[in-house]
């Protein structure tokens, strides 16, 4: 077992463990903290896959900005205390477990039918050609430039809409 495998298993285990902890904590603040840990571990796995830019984005956007937002909302709404679990009664536990099994089976089927992985030197060549940022930016701002623009309009509409709905004076 070489060093990269060791690192992978460490972070993968950390990701799984912290996500399990995240959904089992009763205090929302702890849940968010464990979610941060999960996202960090996933970022580390991205680094192992040589997706450095994605890893940086993961840390900056998810583990940084969005999670801070979560914490803000939890504290603003004063939710930082313990809750009873949402799932009440044995029936819903069984249903939830069943749904989880379905997802797991889906993962299994998908893993079996996925076409063979692309050659790894293809990725390395692209990386050498365009750099980590270019690999993301070039398709984003060339092939999918319309989608990016539409996303911008979508965000504008969401902003205008939330102001219309939520502002104090009508």
């Amino acid at each position: 077992m070489d060093i990269s495998q060791l690192v992978f298993y460490t972070f993968a285990g950390l990701a799984v463990a912290s996500s399990v902890l995240m959904i089992t904590r009763r205090n929302p603040v702890y849940s968010v903290m464990y979610l941060v840990l999960t996202l960090f571990s996933v970022a580390a796995i991205f680094v192992l896959l040589e997706a450095h830019f994605l890893a940086a984005l993961q840390v900056v956007v998810y583990a940084g900005a969005i999670l801070v937002l979560f914490l803000f909302v939890i504290m603003l709404l004063n939710l930082g205390h313990e809750f009873d679990p949402d799932i009440r009664g044995k029936f819903w536990w069984v249903v939830g477990f069943g749904l989880g099994l379905v997802l797991f089976a889906e993962l299994f089927v998908l893993a079996r039918s996925v076409p063979e992985a692309p050659e790894s030197d293809l990725l390395a060549r692209l990386l050498a050609d365009q750099g980590a940022v270019g690999m993301v930016a070039e398709p984003l701002f060339e092939n999918y430039v319309i989608a990016v623009e539409v996303t911008g309009v979508l965000l504008l509409v969401a902003m205008v809409g939330s102001v219309v709905i939520a502002k104090r004076k009508v």
């Binding site: 998908l110 319309i146 539409v150 309009v153 979508l154 709905i165 009508v170």
Partner: protein
């Protein structure tokens, strides 16, 4: 002019109507932001919205002369897109015309109303005109986000808030289904481009992922077009929303979701017809039967029209399942007819409801034929057309759908269509009977008919009658605009004895 999608700047030209609308809507928002926000300002924004829509119509006419190289760009440049664009722009203009009275009566004088309406139209046009799953999803979200806000626009009314919340939660839920289905189709075919997907998905040996994606897409679209059993949000959302928005929901939103539904299923997944046919067959049958039965006992006119609109989704599903050119042509024809009659019907309901939307019960309409003869006559035209009696657009539209379904070799589905239509006569005629044959209970007094609303009513009534009497030219146009869209038609016809 020729559009070559390998040059990314050409997308700007291919999307000219959308660009015009977006720019216009942003300008209107700016104007509204800097104005003093008095009722007259809101009216000015409304008229500005109409000007922007007119500019987009001009851009769309220009688009008719544009050709594309190849047919694999993210944005389609075919007759189908241009036809649906006209439909959405027209429907939005009608809705703006009928909103002036309502917004001033109910005190909804924020100019954002019209800007959001225009943004929703941008979303619809992207939805119906895209040839790429990513853009289709973004169009969906753009349209839906704008409309969630419009449904909850009347902030003083708890019913409006309830409708918006229900619509938002179920809309977000169904978007998840849609996105999951799209992701699976992408996983199975390796592309998000609809034109390429057709060649990549093999109908003979379909993978499990593709089938799951297909099923999830049907569920997602089922929610969006409010097909039974995914329709439960519809009556509440329609009842609580401001009435012009209800008209918009029933006409344009449903039309655009259907347009994308057809583009994905007939264009990209046309070769897989045998896989999705059964599923949609059941949906279509249920969607025709259930709402027509529930509508029989409705006492609220808005709810009655909501169930009627669900039933019409069932008729349109029959056109979809036929999957041939006459099916799609009849679909487009029916959309035009349906838009005119449902907007007209909601416009009359909007005026008669009076301040605070109080008069919505069927008993309020008793004796209307004698106290308000014009209102009753116009409403009767729309109801007769919705029911599908000659000589109105509804009859001709249903006839063409029936013909397309029979051409494609279906027997039971057309029979269900006819039987449910006969059942539906009961509740449409119940309103007419109440208007003409029952004594008036409470005097409605004078109702205010604004000039813009009168124009919209005349236009809707004219379209309804015109399509019913002289349907050949519009149908020819509809048929021309779907030419070449579905090479599947012949294959399906061959496969059936």
């Amino acid at each position: 002019m020729q559009i070559d999608f390998s040059n990314h700047l050409d997308y700007l030209w291919a999307l000219l109507p959308e660009t015009v609308l977006t720019a216009g809507a942003v300008l209107l928002l700016m104007y509204d932001g800097f104005s003093r926000r008095e009722p007259t300002d809101s009216r000015a924004v409304g008229w500005g919205g109409l000007v922007v829509l007119a500019a987009a119509v001009v851009a769309n006419i220009w688009l008719m002369g544009v050709e594309e190289l190849g047919a694999t760009g993210m944005v389609a440049l075919d007759g189908y897109r241009i036809f649906t664009n006209f439909l959405f722009l027209g429907a939005a203009a009608l809705v703006i015309f009928i909103s002036f009275d309502y917004t001033s009566r109910e005190g909804l004088t924020q100019g954002e109303f019209y800007a959001l309406l225009l943004f929703a139209v941008v979303g619809m046009m992207l939805l119906a005109g895209s040839r790429d799953l990513i853009l289709i999803f973004l169009g969906f979200e753009l349209m839906s986000v704008a409309v969630y806000v419009l449904v909850g626009f009347n902030r003083r009314d708890p019913r409006s808030a309830e409708a918006a919340l229900k619509y938002f939660l179920l809309g977000a839920f169904s978007s998840a289904f849609l996105l999951y289905g799209m992701a699976m189709l992408y996983g199975a075919s390796g592309t998000t481009n609809l034109a390429e997907m057709r060649g990549l998905l093999d109908g003979a040996s379909l993978s499990l992922i593709a089938m799951a994606g297909l099923a999830l897409l049907v569920i997602g679209f089922g929610f969006k077009v409010s097909a039974v059993p995914f329709h439960v949000w519809t009556p509440d959302a329609y009842e609580g929303a401001p009435t012009p928005v209800t008209a918009f929901l029933a006409a344009a939103i449903k039309a655009s979701a259907f347009a994308a539904f057809i583009r994905i299923f007939v264009v990209a997944l046309g070769d897989l017809h045998e896989y999705w046919e059964r599923l949609i067959w059941v949906l279509a049958a249920l969607t025709m039967i259930v709402p027509n039965l529930i509508a029989l006992v409705q006492d609220n006119i808005k709810r009655l029209l909501a169930y009627s609109s669900i039933a019409h989704a069932g008729y349109l599903l029959v056109a979809l399942i036929a999957a041939n050119e006459s099916g799609m042509a009849s679909f487009l024809f029916y959309l035009v007819a349906y838009t005119a009659m449902i907007v007209g019907a909601f416009a009359v309901v909007l005026v008669l409801a009076g301040k605070g939307d109080e008069r919505q019960r069927l008993s309020d309409y008793a004796g209307l034929g004698w106290t308000h003869p014009w209102a009753a006559a116009v409403l009767s035209i729309f109801l007769v057309s919705l029911a599908g009696l000659p000589p109105t657009a509804g009859f001709v539209g249903k006839f063409y759908i029936l013909r397309a379904a029979v051409e494609a070799g279906y027997i039971i589905l057309p029979v269900i269509l006819v039987v449910t239509t006969l059942i539906s006569y009961w509740y449409y005629l119940r309103v007419i009977v109440a208007m003409y044959m029952k004594p008036s209970v409470a005097d409605m007094g004078r109702v205010a008919w604004g000039g813009a609303l009168r124009v919209a009513l005349v236009v809707c009534a004219a379209i309804t009658i015109y399509l019913g009497i002289l349907p050949s030219w519009p149908l020819l146009k509809a048929r021309q605009s779907v030419e070449g869209l579905a090479p599947v038609a012949e294959q399906v016809a061959e496969a059936r004895p």
